[in-house]
């Protein structure tokens, strides 16, 4: 049995590359789904796979106090974990305008319809991400019903770090950024597998730990 309390020792360069590929496949499908949904090209950056201190995870979306819109869902099944789709508020409004064709109000509140549409976007993205991962790994991975929150990034993300919290002050996450045309980063897709899931993902893919 591997000692997962020192994940960074357990993960060699090859293992990280495998995880990056896992992120590539999942996020690639999600980007395609998003493109279809919005009827415009959505690009993604090559996923980053990183072991990061908790504080830095919040920094990557602008700091613990930055207000973001997040769709969270728990991954259940063979390789459980947490998944976040994080948008800055401007990007979220833009996305709604493109998707629903509604004239979106400038004020910060979101209507029921807008929230529901965003939830559905999260649902579709997470579903396509996970189903491609499940095909690729032959692991059973099911998303829970998504939940949406508009709040401080620290408050939102810390919730996804609890499983790692029992083992240290860092977490491994697969971070994919989405871009829309010339625009800046539109959103982040974080997949944070539970510590126990790495072994299962690797053995499903026939990868041996170093």
């Amino acid at each position: 049995m591997n000692d997962f309390s020192h994940l960074e020792d357990f993960l060699g360069d090859f293992q990280l590359d495998v995880l990056k590929e896992v992120g590539n496949i999942g996020a690639g499908h999600a980007a395609t789904a998003l493109s279809t949904l919005l009827d415009k090209p959505i690009d993604m950056l090559v996923p980053k796979v990183r072991m990061l201190p908790f504080e830095e995870i919040c920094e990557s979306v602008g700091g613990a106090e930055t207000v973001v819109l997040a769709i969270f869902l728990r991954v259940e099944g063979d390789a459980p974990g947490n998944m976040f789709f994080i948008l800055d508020l401007v990007a979220a409004k833009n996305m709604l305008r493109d998707l629903v064709g509604l004239s979106i109000s400038d004020h910060e509140e979101y209507s029921e319809l807008e929230l529901s549409a965003l939830n559905e976007i999260g649902n579709i993205l997470a579903g396509s991400y996970l189903s491609s991962l499940a095909d690729f790994t032959n692991l059973n991975m099911q998303p829970t019903v998504p939940a949406l929150a508009i709040d401080m990034a620290g408050a939102i993300l810390s919730y996804g770090l609890l499983q790692f919290g029992q083992m240290g002050d860092q977490a491994l996450l697969i971070d994919t950024k989405f871009l829309e045309g010339e625009n800046e980063v539109q959103g982040h897709f974080f997949l944070i597998p539970d510590p126990e899931s790495f072994g299962k993902i690797f053995s499903a893919l026939g990868v041996v730990s170093p």
């Binding site: 020192h6 908790f54 919040c58 106090e65 508009i150 709040d151 408050a155 810390s158 609890l162």
Partner: protein, 164 residues
């Protein structure tokens, strides 16, 4: 308030302050901000508690600031070193939210309320009274604790600023 006066408390971190210093922790979700204060010596302490009990810890070297049952004793110890009297300490609590509502029955989903319960249990063990609390609900909080006055300022996205 000048920037120099602010002492940042990170996630799963704790610190102490006195005189004109201000303790601050940002983005509390299910985590709980515990503050302790001795109004006579004006010694203040803050912990950003992430998990209820160190019994579940599987860390190589335990971060005692992370768990309610280890953070509070450590905070008291650090405050006593600065001249606080344990019999004079008073507590305030903020955080412990449930950021996401789920139909799931996973125990992790209830981590906010469990953190709050565990903090209260520890404070009770040391006979430290809880003067005020702003816990639960479903929103994030940023808190600042003024060692000069013992006032706790709580900011949230939805509800703005309040003092207690």
């Amino acid at each position: 308030m000048t920037q120099e006066n602010i002492i940042k408390v990170g996630m799963a971190d704790l610190n102490v302050a006195r005189q004109t210093e201000v303790l601050k922790t940002t983005g509390l979700g299910s985590c709980v901000g515990v503050t302790l204060y001795d109004s006579r010596s004006k010694v203040a302490g803050m912990a950003h508690v992430m998990l209820p009990s160190s019994e579940i810890a599987r860390e190589g070297s335990l971060n005692i600031a992370k768990y309610a049952d280890t953070a509070i004793p450590e905070l008291i110890k650090r405050m006593e070193q600065l001249g606080a009297n344990i019999n004079k300490l008073e507590a305030k609590l903020a955080g412990g939210a449930q950021m996401f509502a789920f139909a799931g029955n996973n125990d992790t989903m209830r981590i906010g309320p469990r953190n709050v319960e565990s903090c209260k249990e520890m404070l009770n063990r040391y006979k430290i009274p809880i003067l005020a609390e702003d816990t639960g609900a479903n929103y994030g909080r940023t808190i600042e604790f003024y060692s000069e006055t013992g006032v706790l300022v709580i900011r949230s996205v939805q509800l703005g600023v309040k003092e207690m």
